[in-house]
């Protein structure tokens, strides 16, 4: 389904059926984004609802020349950042690593093996379990293609801090991948 001008016009006039169509259209894309930024599906759905409400209220400012899904995606990302800001003062996260993490410090990942063996849900869970700020920076850098300066402006932090968070996120993700691959390998050997 495409987002047509007629559909937008019907949503502007608060036609419930049209709103439902648009809701369904954006649902998969935007909740997928939310799940990367937030902790779980429930938080992502909640953020999507806030975003969709903003979209409906802001449809008058939407111009038909714009790519609708890109416009919606931007609203969703901003909502996720708002959620992070509201929650960040209570954030206190712990990352219980297996002590054997130490031995993976200098190991490198076989990306082909990772590509073949790792499930999307596991990878998503790895991103979700990152420290909040590092997760946000990682998402903005990798998926939204923002530069460090842009991220720093957006999150009101220094460029150096943004780089530091990205580096931390990459290290943690790499450790998790190594650990997962190691466990998979052990399973195969045992069986």
């Amino acid at each position: 389904m495409d987002v047509t001008d007629d559909l937008i016009a019907a949503c502007r006039s608060e036609d419930r059926e049209a709103i439902h169509k648009l809701y369904k259209y954006c649902h998969g894309h935007l909740i997928g984004i939310g799940m990367r930024y937030l902790k779980n599906r429930n938080d992502a759905v909640s953020a999507y609802h806030k975003s969709f409400m903003k979209m409906l209220n802001g449809l008058d400012s939407y111009s038909e020349q714009q790519n609708f899904i890109a416009w919606a995606k931007r609203i969703m990302v901003n909502t996720c950042i708002d959620v992070f800001r509201k929650d960040s003062k209570h954030t206190e996260r712990e990352y219980p690593f297996d002590p054997s993490d130490y031995f993976y410090k200098n190991a490198s990942v076989d990306w082909n093996l990772a590509e073949m063996n790792m499930r999307t849900d596991d990878i998503l869970e790895m991103v979700q379990s990152l420290p909040e700020k590092s997760k946000l920076v990682f998402n903005l850098f990798v998926f939204e293609d923002l530069k460090h300066q842009e991220i720093a402006d957006l999150l009101d932090m220094s460029e150096g801090t943004s780089k530091w968070h990205l580096s931390k996120a990459r290290k943690l993700l790499q450790q998790k991948i190594l650990l997962t691959l190691e466990q998979e390998n052990t399973k195969i050997n045992v069986s």
């Binding site: 419930r16 709103i19 439902h20 809701y23 369904k24 649902h27 998969g28 894309h29 909740i31 997928g32 799940m35 990367r36 599906r41 992502a44 759905v45 999507y48 609802h49 969709f52 409400m53 708002d82 992070f84 800001r85 509201k86 960040s88 003062k89 954030t91 206190e92 996260r93 712990e94 990352y95 219980p96 690593f97 002590p99 054997s100 993490d101 130490y102 490198s108 990942v109 990306w111 990772a114 590509e115 790792m118 999307t120 990878i123 998503l124 991103v127 420290p131 700020k133 990682f138 850098f141 990798v142 998926f143 999150l155 009101d156 932090m157 220094s158 931390k168 990459r170 993700l173 790499q174």
Partner: protein, 409 residues
């Protein structure tokens, strides 16, 4: 490596989408219905606000008596005050030997002792009541008086949890200060200890009207304010106020404030246990932020007798910011001699690195005149854009504050 890991995650999660569930839509539909109801509620509040403002603007000043602004006399006038006889003083434990006139501003400073429920003033007490019913209380005593022009009736009820109450003796120490906005006239005979009164000749005493300027004129005022922030941030500030009154009710106020905002505590951001050849290390990173800000608000203020309401907006300028990060390492590496905990400062940024910016806000305040020159107020400030301090977000935050202003006439 970095590019590979980025590419790997982008490839796996870039197109990731969630499956549609109808219950999500049902939840959203409920939100849509609620929003319709909220719009009605907003209009309800607007109408209510309009009614309240209209009421405050158009009710006569006398509605708020006895703190009326309307009489603003000045000059000196002699008033004959009949002196109570010593016998009368001895017969009445209460304040019957005090002459009060209506609408008088005054204060009371007294030390009382009560025995068997009878109150004795053992230091000079000076108190004036206003026309109508006056109630005063403190943790140990309660007093009520009714005043009608020059006639007054005052009674005391003594109560308290003081241990000495069991022996039916209470020492009550009061330091009360009460005042009206305009000291229209003072026609009060101070209470004196019996010994002093007995040495005073009987007859009439003369008191005089004390002129006091009206606070309705334009004025320049200087004040100090203590700001209390939200759960994460606390503010302390110094306020300077310039107020110009157009008339008795409306004025315009410029009140710049220099604020110091700081975090109430540090935050654990990341914890990791590292296994290092039999040693365990727990690393905790702590961050704290402090900031100097300049608030530049402009208000429209409205005054009704002792009450002043203000609403306006302005800009907050971030003048300087300090961010500090510390790493605390708790290690059992010295297990034989007990665990050790050693804070290590890993990085620090200084005032000079502040990203100076200006953020708009709207603000509302309420102030109450506790004295013609002193006002106690509540202030609430809503940021219109994010005022995130480094890693501690207080996005669109509301800051509450208590202010104490002193007017320089």
């Amino acid at each position: 490596m970095s590019r590979k890991i980025d590419k790997f995650f982008k490839g796996k999660l870039g197109k990731h989408s969630a499956s549609y569930q109808h219950k999500d839509w049902q939840a959203f539909e409920a939100m849509l219905d609620d929003q319709g109801g909220q719009k009605g509620a907003v209009w309800g509040w607007i109408v209510l606000l309009f009614i309240v403002i209209s009421f405050l603007l158009f009710v006569p000043n006398s509605f708020f008596n006895p703190f009326s602004f309307s009489n603003n006399q000045s000059g000196v006038e002699s008033t004959a005050v009949p002196m109570s006889s010593n016998e009368e003083i001895g017969a009445n434990e209460n304040d019957s030997y005090r002459i009060d006139k209506a609408d008088i501003s005054a204060g009371e400073l007294s030390l009382h002792q009560s025995r068997f429920g009878i109150r004795n003033n053992i230091l000079p007490a000076y108190r004036d009541d206003r026309e109508g019913l006056n109630l005063y209380g403190n943790p140990y005593s309660f007093s009520a008086s009714a005043l009608n022009q020059s006639k007054s009736a005052t009674g005391f009820i003594v109560a308290g949890k003081d241990d000495s109450f069991n022996s039916r003796t209470i020492n009550t120490y009061e330091l009360d200060y009460m005042s009206g906005l305009i000291k229209q006239e003072v026609a009060s005979l101070p209470q004196y200890p019996l010994a002093l009164l007995s040495s005073m000749p009987s007859g009439n005493y003369t008191t005089q009207i004390t002129p006091v300027s009206s606070p309705q004129e334009s004025s320049f005022e200087l004040g100090i304010g203590l700001m209390v922030g939200n759960a994460t941030i606390r503010d302390v500030g110094l306020l300077l106020e310039m107020q110009y009154s157009f008339n008795k009710r409306f004025g315009i106020t410029f009140r710049p404030g220099f604020l110091y905002s700081s975090l109430s505590g540090s935050q654990m951001t990341y914890t990791q246990e590292v296994f290092d050849f039999g040693r365990n290390e727990l690393q905790i990173e702590l961050e704290s932020t402090a900031r100097f800000e300049l608030d530049l608000p402009l208000f429209i203020s409205m005054q009704t007798n002792r009450h002043q309401f203000g609403f306006g907006g302005g800009l907050t300028l971030a003048m300087a910011e300090r961010w500090k990060e510390e790493k605390i390492v708790i290690s059992d590496k010295d297990r034989l001699s007990g665990s050790s905990s050693e804070p290590v400062a890993t990085s620090r940024s200084f005032w000079s690195e502040t990203d100076r910016n200006a953020r708009p806000f709207v603000e509302a305040h309420y102030q109450y005149y506790i004295h013609p020159q002193w006002r106690l107020g509540l202030r609430s400030r809503w940021a219109l854009v994010d005022d995130q301090i480094e890693n501690y977000s207080s996005s669109r935050s509301v800051h509450y504050g208590v202010t104490l202003m002193y007017s320089i006439k």
